[in-house]
């Protein structure tokens, strides 16, 4: 057999391994309801419930942050995070959590926020109104 064909076969084998590994390691996007049914870590996308309280009290525990999030199916759940409150959290438009359910609360290992792009239409009005009062 030619060496190049052996090399080719090895490449194909590794590539298949890579694809399987990507698939095996990949997680799924789900809802809080899905999270209750599984022990696996998954991604939940949702929005911060700004009306409910957010707890971050560094003087008591600098590594505890909790808040309430409503997932895309409309279910609300308490979220706990071991770590500090991410910067700019209140302004997040959308949150992607990675983690699992733990005793009725969702335990997030990672929080990824999407913040509003700077040019939302209503924002400029607010800025302007403020400027007007000042001048």
């Amino acid at each position: 057999m030619k060496k190049s064909s052996i090399v080719g076969m090895v490449i194909i084998a590794i590539t298949i391994g890579v694809i399987i590994s990507t698939y095996a390691d990949s997680s799924t996007y789900g809802s809080f309801t899905d999270a209750q049914e599984t022990q696996k870590e998954l991604h939940v996308v949702g929005k911060l419930n700004k009306k409910k309280e957010m707890v971050y009290n560094p003087q008591q525990d600098a590594n505890y942050f909790s808040f309430y999030m409503v997932d895309n199916k409309g279910k609300e759940c308490k979220v706990e995070f071991t770590g500090t409150k991410p910067q700019d959290f209140e302004r997040s438009e959308q949150i992607v959590l990675t983690g699992q359910m733990d005793n009725g609360a969702f335990h997030a290992n990672k929080i990824l926020m999407k913040c509003p792009s700077k040019y939302t239409k209503d924002k400029i009005e607010i800025t302007e109104v403020k400027a007007q009062i000042k001048s």
């Binding site: 890579v18 560094p58 600098a62 071991t82 990824l112 009005e125 302007e128 400027a131 001048s135």
Partner: protein, 812 residues
């Protein structure tokens, strides 16, 4: 109904828009002229070429014009322009105005087209017989880039996004019906604070020069197929490949250094999709470089070389699609938001894929592909294998990074791996091991055929020494508990040794080999440095003091990596005694002074301050933190604040009695010379001042004002205070003094003549409210200098190789 707006400066924008049209026009003319020039068989007629040159040079002029107009607009704070309003503000220091360019997509496209224009002009001078065909390809790319800035609508489709659009044309709002709307816009939105860092001034231009220069080898490859000069392109393209690899590599590492120095994600590489997107073309181009060398010396691997050079540029286009189309929104923190140009970016990419594919298919039969098999003990064979390993490593990164793309195409909802870093590392460490090993032993191989006996003899010495050294290194760096880490360390050390041997020979006179040896040694150092720093970085700010949040929470085994520091209260953290000393504000940044001390017994062995900073934005209730790092030769102490009290919250609440904010007072009866202890220190009664005066209260006869001179010692600091006791007529009044830094209020409340004592009342602030605090995270990165040092070595290696290869290209 046309409103006449007051105070707008429309000229620079109109001029800028003119330059955009000019850059588009000239690139189109350059494309056509060079195309005809390349197809022209009449040697004596070079009028097309002349026109092409003129057009391309004009293009560079136009592109510089765009940049100048945009700079002028931002510099002059013309907020009637959307770009200036969205990306800058009046408070921005001048040297960061340049960073505003690349906060927006338009500016970064400009940067790309600028470099491509510059590189084209260099090629006009340097490319000689390749000029016409190579410049045709580059002009085509330049046309595509020019359309990205056009910002015109044709048949309802918006083409490009111009940086010169007016604010009132983009944003709707009632204020824009007012003629004097500009007077209401006080300031722009400002630059993202994370970009206000000197690395962000030089990292994007370097990175984009790297991206832009990748078009050159690609253009040579395409030109070779088009002009049927199949074999000739390798030599002139080689210096450009090296240049692109060097610049892009430097740019990527600069970005990683910026992330390390300015971002607080705690590391230098996070496998973020945006980072991955930039490293993909770099890996394939490195692979391409090696097979080009193999082809040049042995005639093998022709197609692999051509394919890799072409795919590298396609990957640049794919990377810009990923980062600019908004598709990474759910997976990356760095990506741009969508500007509605995904379609355009895809057309750009597919145009070049189709162009390359068609040319390859047409010429397939004529390509100089050898049918022979390489010898196993030959350098070309292992250059080829090494490149293939690089390609497979690239496929792995590509496969995971592209998950959002599959979701888009197939409508699936696959999420990226939850433990992303582990997912990448388990593959990439194996690939890195293979590559380092190959880069070691293939140095002893010769082209065509090697004497195997000699080969194994010279190899065995390095092999054994590498094993011994590895044992020492893994022991001292504490990474022996992971088998893969040991293997990779060994491979890197093996590579360093083999290449050092080569370098030794180079110094003896075979200087030609120095470049590759130095670059390989640098690369091996990068591997070891990255491995040790990433595997063994240690959070030293482990929280041992925090009160748990109930059992429910204590169960989770997440390490508590943040620690709260109260002002002037030292806390032991690893071997450091860490104290938060206070903050100072400079511009928009608040710097938190954190003192680190290392004690050896009672002696202070080390003493230094770090100033991690945070930008406080009271309006938005947020902080943006940047780390500060103490660099040692063998490790770094990296520190950033994770949370600080917002400045707004620090205002005293009015309407409360002042004393409410203190703990119940403690009354002491003292005489001069007494010492009173309080929680944080002591108060010494120094003397009595019988002639104390009180502002605004005149003393009459019979009145007495006595001051008590106190010295407060708290946290190694001395404060003076003089509370006053006043007898005015029949009433006793006292005037307390506060010592804010010590959290104290001191009152001289009575004189007890019968006891011969004085009454001192001490109010202390409760512990938590008393002082400022910060939440800190500190990480120790061991041996990270190997990573940065390796980078510098690798760049030097590339530079040496560029000199060698461009000399070779000239001699033919």
């Amino acid at each position: 109904m046309d409103t006449q707006f007051v105070g707008e400066h429309l000229l620079p924008g109109k001029l800028g828009q003119f330059f955009i049209i000019l850059s588009f026009g000239t690139s189109l003319i350059a494309l056509l002229s060079y195309f005809f020039a390349a197809n022209n068989k009449n040697q004596s007629d070079n009028s097309w070429q002349k026109l092409g040159r003129l057009a391309y040079r004009l293009n560079l002029f136009a592109v510089i014009g765009i940049g100048a107009c945009l700079f002028y607009i931002i510099y002059s704070h013309y907020f009637e322009y959307h770009y200036a309003w969205a990306h800058s503000s009046k408070t921005l220091p001048v040297y960061y105005i340049i960073s505003c360019f690349w906060e927006g997509q338009e500016g970064s496209f400009w940067l790309w087209t600028f470099w491509q224009a510059v590189l084209g002009c260099i090629l006009i001078v340097k490319a000689k017989s390749w000029e016409n065909s190579v410049m045709t390809v580059i002009s085509l790319s330049q046309v595509f880039l020019a359309t990205m800035l056009l910002g015109v609508e044709i048949f309802g489709a918006k083409i490009g996004s111009s940086p010169f659009v007016l604010l009132r044309d983009v944003v709707e709002g009632p204020i824009f019906s007012r003629a004097d709307y500009l007077s209401l816009i006080q300031d722009g939105n400002g630059l993202n604070p994370l970009l206000q860092n000197y690395w962000m001034v030089i990292h994007p231009p370097t990175l984009f020069l790297g991206f832009a220069s990748m078009v050159v080898p690609f253009a040579y490859g395409i030109a070779a197929l088009w002009q049927k000069r199949y074999a000739e392109w390798v030599k002139p393209a080689m210096p450009w490949v090296l240049f692109a690899v060097m610049i892009l590599g430097t740019g990527i590492i600069m970005g990683s250094f910026w992330a390390y120095e300015a971002l607080n994600f705690g590391g230098f590489w996070a496998w973020d999709p945006v980072e991955n997107a930039s490293i993909l073309p770099w890996i394939t181009l490195i692979a391409g470089l090696h097979v080009m060398i193999a082809y040049k010396n042995s005639g093998h691997s022709y197609f692999t070389a051509l394919f890799l050079i072409i795919i590298s540029f396609i990957l640049v286009l794919y990377a810009s699609f990923l980062t600019r189309s908004g598709i990474l929104g759910d997976t990356s923190v760095h990506a741009f938001t969508d500007l509605g140009m995904s379609g355009q970016l895809l057309i750009y990419m597919f145009a070049f894929i189709v162009l390359a594919a068609v040319l390859i298919i047409i010429n397939w039969k004529k390509l100089p592909i050898t049918k022979k098999d390489e010898e196993t003990y030959s350098r070309e064979f292992w250059l080829f294998i090494g490149s293939i390993v690089l390609v497979v490593s690239c496929i792995q990164i590509l496969a995971t990074t592209s998950i959002p793309v599959y979701n888009k195409i197939f409508g699936t909802s696959i999420a990226p791996p939850t433990n992303l870093i582990q997912h990448y590392n388990k593959w990439q460490i194996a690939f890195a091991f293979a590559i380092a090993t190959i880069s070691a032993f293939s140095q002893f191989l010769k082209y065509k055929k090697t004497d195997t006996r000699k080969f194994f003899i010279s190899l065995s010495v390095s092999f054994v020494v590498a094993v011994l050294l590895t044992a020492v290194v893994v022991y001292f760096t504490d990474i022996y508990h992971n088998f893969m880490y040991i293997l990779l360390t060994w491979a890197a050390i093996f590579s360093i040794l083999c290449n050092a041997k080569l370098l030794g020979e180079a110094l003896k006179g075979k200087w030609k080999l120095a470049g590759s040896a130095v670059a390989h040694i640098g690369f091996a150092f990068i591997l070891v440095g990255a491995l040790i720093a990433a595997a063994n970085n240690k959070v030293i700010s482990v929280n041992n003091t925090g009160i748990g949040f109930g059992n429910e929470f204590a169960k989770s085994n997440n390490p508590r990596e943040n620690i709260i520091l109260y002002k002037n209260e030292p806390i032991k953290m690893d071997k450091y005694t860490v104290t938060y000393m206070g903050d100072s504000t400079s511009g928009v940044n608040t710097y938190y002074r954190v003192n680190y001390k290392v004690y050896d017994g009672d002696k202070i062995k080390e003493n230094f301050d770090l100033y991690p900073n945070a930008q406080q934005n009271a309006k938005m209730q947020q902080i943006i933190a940047s780390p500060d790092t103490k660099h040692y030769l063998f490790h770094d102490i990296y520190t950033h604040v994770s949370s600080v009290p917002l400045k707004e919250d620090n205002h005293d609440h009015e309407g409360h009695s002042d004393d409410e904010s203190y703990l119940p007072p403690v009354v002491h009866e003292v005489i001069v010379g007494d010492t009173v202890r309080f929680r944080e220190g002591q108060i010494v009664v120094k003397s009595i001042n019988r002639n104390a005066t009180i502002k605004d209260i005149p003393l009459e006869k019979g009145d007495a004002a006595i001051g008590m001179n106190l010295e407060v010692l708290s946290a190694n600091k001395k404060f003076e205070a003089e509370p006053i006791f006043l007898i005015k007529g029949n009433t006793k009044v006292d005037f307390g003094k506060t010592v804010d830094e010590a959290g104290l209020k001191l009152r001289f409340t009575n004189v007890l003549p019968d006891k011969g004592k004085l009454e001192l009342t001490v109010y202390e602030k409760p512990k938590s409210e008393k002082k400022d605090w910060i939440v800190l995270k500190a990480i120790e990165f061991p041996y990270i200098n190997l990573f940065w040092g390796g980078t510098i070595m690798m760049v030097i290696g590339f530079l040496l190789s560029i000199f060698r290869r461009s000399k070779e290209a000239k001699t033919t």
